[in-house]
């Protein structure tokens, strides 16, 4: 049975990196990840088992769900970083640890005020500039977290990740403000 073989090969205890056969580090070949994702889904997706037994259909759904979860985690730099931390026994403490460098917080506060002002004024250009500035900042933090993860500075990486989460939320708020402007 093809599914059985696939089940044996796909050890469910494997972590996401092992499942996708990529090294467990932050740097990632996204092309290879995508390619492997398609290969895996080609094998396990429920559409391949629509005419099979109910048991096989159920296993196929579980495997495909697992592959989707792993892919979504590895594809997103933030989720990937958080996952790497968890694999190394470090909890990123998104909910509980809100300690941030004061200058970072002050900067965030300023940005939020600027965002609200731009949104209230319907300043489309300002929003676009805002987004690209945010992207630059995110890129800088991503470069930093890559260094920290590569050198196993887990606690520092966790702190950087919490800042990245902050920026992600800001990005979502910018997108929502842009949508409000459009409608």
């Amino acid at each position: 049975m093809r599914l059985r073989r696939e089940l044996q090969r796909l050890n469910l205890d494997e972590n996401h990196f092992q499942l996708f056969g990529v090294p467990a580090r932050f740097e990632l070949d996204t092309g290879a990840l995508e390619e492997r994702y398609r290969e895996l889904q080609r094998e396990v997706h429920p559409d391949r088992f629509a005419a099979a037994s109910q048991a096989e259909q159920r296993i196929s759904m579980q495997l495909a769900t697992r592959v989707n979860e792993a892919y979504q985690t590895l594809k997103s730099p933030l989720r990937r970083a958080g996952y790497l931390l968890l694999l190394n026994g470090v909890d990123p403490e998104f909910e509980t640890n809100t300690a941030m460098p004061p200058e970072f917080l002050a900067d965030q506060m300023e940005k939020r005020e600027a965002l609200e002002a731009a949104a209230a004024a319907g300043d489309r250009e300002g929003m676009i500039a805002f987004s690209s500035e945010l992207r630059l900042e995110q890129d800088a933090l991503l470069a930093r977290i890559r260094r920290q993860l590569d050198t196993s500075d887990w606690a520092e990486a966790a702190a950087t990740l919490r800042q990245l989460k902050f920026l992600e939320k800001l990005g979502e708020d910018i997108a929502a403000a842009e949508e409000r402007m459009e409608s």
């Binding site: 049975m1 398609r38 005419a51």
Partner: protein
């Protein structure tokens, strides 16, 4: 002679073992059935050579039914017993149905879904849809000279869980083995993509009789990956007819119409709409039962002006789908037009302007969905041929969430997650010895539960009695490849499976689902403030209960003086709970926190000592 051939699942069996499979487009206005013959998808026609079956069912007093053209011909004579556009009622409660007052039907409210009283008795939309499916099944079995092994039925991508479940139920009621529910724009993408060996990002704009979908797909080496989908489950060609109908009534200064005359003029309006696609003007002339005669002429320009707002309503969801896919207009290589309503020139123009390119119309917009479904059905039934190594990855259109304290919706599975998808969420008990809890599952993008669509209420029983907060109930939400949700629950510390009882919800209003995404933006600001306030109120209540509990249990750990201070702050906190300022509540909570800190420390010490005392020496 040939060697013994063993075919694995998913591979093509020998020709004589070919399983008969069909794709069915169960549309608002028309339905079709198609199959793959000699490697080519074809629509199966009825005996008169017609492919489209009008989605109209007429019920007679003796229980007999007429489906399709026969029912269509008599609809103006017997509107109450002739059901049109039943798709709009699938998975919907009475209060969801728009324009109840203009509908000729005798609606019956019933749990979960509205029903219709006809000459042949009370019928649910599932039963009415099953009549259409039965007719198509009979047509297919006659054409293919055999029993069907399975069918793929298409649904609007923006259909929620209740609407999908109703569609699947209708298929089963019609005696079909439903292999998969397939999203209509995705079906169109399969037919188009495989036909054109397309690669890259495509948008499918699907404006049907009663629903609008927009899907953004990435086609890459045989994988159809839906990146985002959006839409409006109550916007379609029907609404254009309705606009024109209202315009005619106003222009001809007609008195309130009978159900028969209403249906007659709606049919005439639809014919005029279709005529206007290729002509500059259309005449609407009809003798009414009231003795009046309607005779008006409408120009294409007038028609487009009155329906432009409907076209505009499709553009917002289209932009949102692009944004959710994190793509720009320039990334889209082609726009595939699906659904009869996309024939209207002003729809073509608006879509072309938005995407800055001429939309693709090389497949019949009425048939492309059924053809794609047939291709998918053929593969799912196990007739996978050499060139059929393609794969489809679809998404869930609307976020799934659960109700948390204060009537807030907490998202468990976000919209546009690739299927199948599962998320586990942990809950705990609120009171000592609690053995049951209720979980309310909702679908939608808004922050307040009351603004989302209620899918089901689950009651978990058999939780082992424990101290408040000690039980850990893990609830798993699994959405399968049909986009259907299943929920299971398990208490984690004891491994006891909690029983799940499902109560189907009375649906919310249709307007709500169509407005959900739009409103979530308009109201995001107000929602957030309300949310923060409720969170603080819940937090405050929890604080009061916890501190009072502690004061009762460990009274000996606090001095009378300390107790006085704590009680004073508790009273102050209680007073702030009814105010509308979350900051006031927050600072009151912080004050209670401060004055109870030392007490909490002493309680913790006692608890640790108690825990250690209870353990055997060797385990330390």
């Amino acid at each position: 002679m040939a060697l013994l051939q063993i075919s694995e699942p998913g591979q093509s069996p020998a020709p004589h073992e070919r399983r008969l499979a069909v794709g069915i487009d169960l549309g608002t206005t028309n339905s079709l059935v198609a199959t793959v013959r000699n490697g080519i998808a074809v629509v199966l026609n009825d005996r008169e050579g017609q492919g489209l079956l009008p989605s109209i069912v007429r019920y007679f007093r003796d229980g007999r039914t007429a489906v399709g053209r026969e029912a269509e011909r008599e609809q103006a004579r017997d509107p109450r017993n002739t059901v049109v556009s039943v798709k709009r009622f699938m998975g919907r409660g009475l209060k969801d149905v728009v324009h109840v007052e203009n509908s000729p039907y005798d609606f019956v409210e019933s749990p979960g879904m509205v029903q219709l009283r006809t000459a042949a008795g009370v019928k649910s939309p599932v039963e009415v849809s099953a009549e259409i499916l039965k007719t198509l099944r009979a047509r297919a079995e006659e054409a293919l000279a055999g029993e069907l092994s399975g069918a793929v039925i298409t649904v609007p991508a923006y259909f929620d869980d209740a609407q999908r479940q109703a569609t699947k139920d209708a298929g089963q009621l019609a005696g079909l083995n439903v292999l998969r529910l397939l999203n209509e724009p995705t079906a169109a993408a399969i037919a188009y993509g495989l036909d054109n060996a397309a690669e890259g990002v495509y948008a499918v704009y699907d404006l049907g009789g009663g629903t609008f979908d927009i899907s953004i797909l990435k086609l890459s080496r045989g994988v159809f990956e839906v990146m985002a989908t959006n839409g409006d489950a109550a916007l379609g060609g029907d609404d254009f007819d309705q606009r024109l109908f209202c315009w005619v009534v106003e222009r001809a200064k007609l008195a309130p119409l009978s159900a028969e005359d209403t249906r007659l003029l709606l049919v005439k309006s639809r014919e005029a709409k279709e005529f206007l696609t290729g002509h500059g003007e259309a005449r609407i002339a009809a003798p009414l039962s009231s003795g009046e005669t309607v005779d008006v002429t409408v120009t294409q320009r007038e028609f487009q002006a009155m329906t432009q707002p409907l076209v505009a309503k499709t553009l917002g969801p289209t932009r949102k789908a692009l944004r959710d896919a994190r793509l720009e207009v320039g990334d889209v290589k082609g726009v595939v037009m699906v659904g009869g309503a996309t024939r209207m020139p002003h729809v073509q123009r608006a879509v072309g302007e938005l995407f800055r390119q001429t939309p693709l119309n090389n497949l019949d917009p009425d048939k492309v969905v059924a053809l794609g479904a047939a291709i998918q059905a053929n593969v799912l039934a196990g007739n996978r041929g050499a060139g059929d190594d393609w794969l489809l990855l679809d998404v869930i259109p609307l976020s799934l969430g659960i109700e948390t304290m204060g009537g807030l919706a907490e998202k468990v599975i976000p919209r546009n997650s690739t299927l199948p998808v599962a998320r586990a969420q942990e809950f705990t008990t609120f009171r000592d010895g609690q053995t049951a809890m209720s979980i309310h599952v909702v679908q939608g993008e808004r922050e307040l539960v009351s603004d989302c669509r209620s899918l089901a209420r689950f009651e978990l029983h058999g939780i082992p009695p424990m101290a408040a907060g000690a039980a850990r109930i893990r609830v798993t939400f699994q959405v399968d490849a049909d986009g259907l949700l299943a929920v299971s629950a398990r208490e984690a510390t004891t491994g006891v499976n909690a029983a799940v009882a499902v109560k189907p919800s009375y649906g919310l209003t249709d307007a709500q689902i169509t407005q959900m995404l739009k409103d979530s933006l308009d109201h995001a600001r107000g929602d957030v403030q309300l949310r923060v306030l409720r969170e603080q109120q819940v937090e405050g209540e929890r604080m009061i209960e916890a501190v009072e509990h502690a004061l009762r249990d460990d009274a000996d750990l606090v001095s009378a003086e300390e107790q006085g201070v704590v009680r004073a702050e508790l009273e102050a906190l209680k007073k702030t709970l009814s105010c509308n300022d979350h900051r006031t509540i927050k600072s009151a909570i912080e004050r209670v926190n401060r004055v109870t800190e030392a007490f909490a420390g002493r309680r913790m010490d006692r608890a640790v000592k108690r825990a250690l005392a209870g353990r055997k020496v060797e385990s330390l």
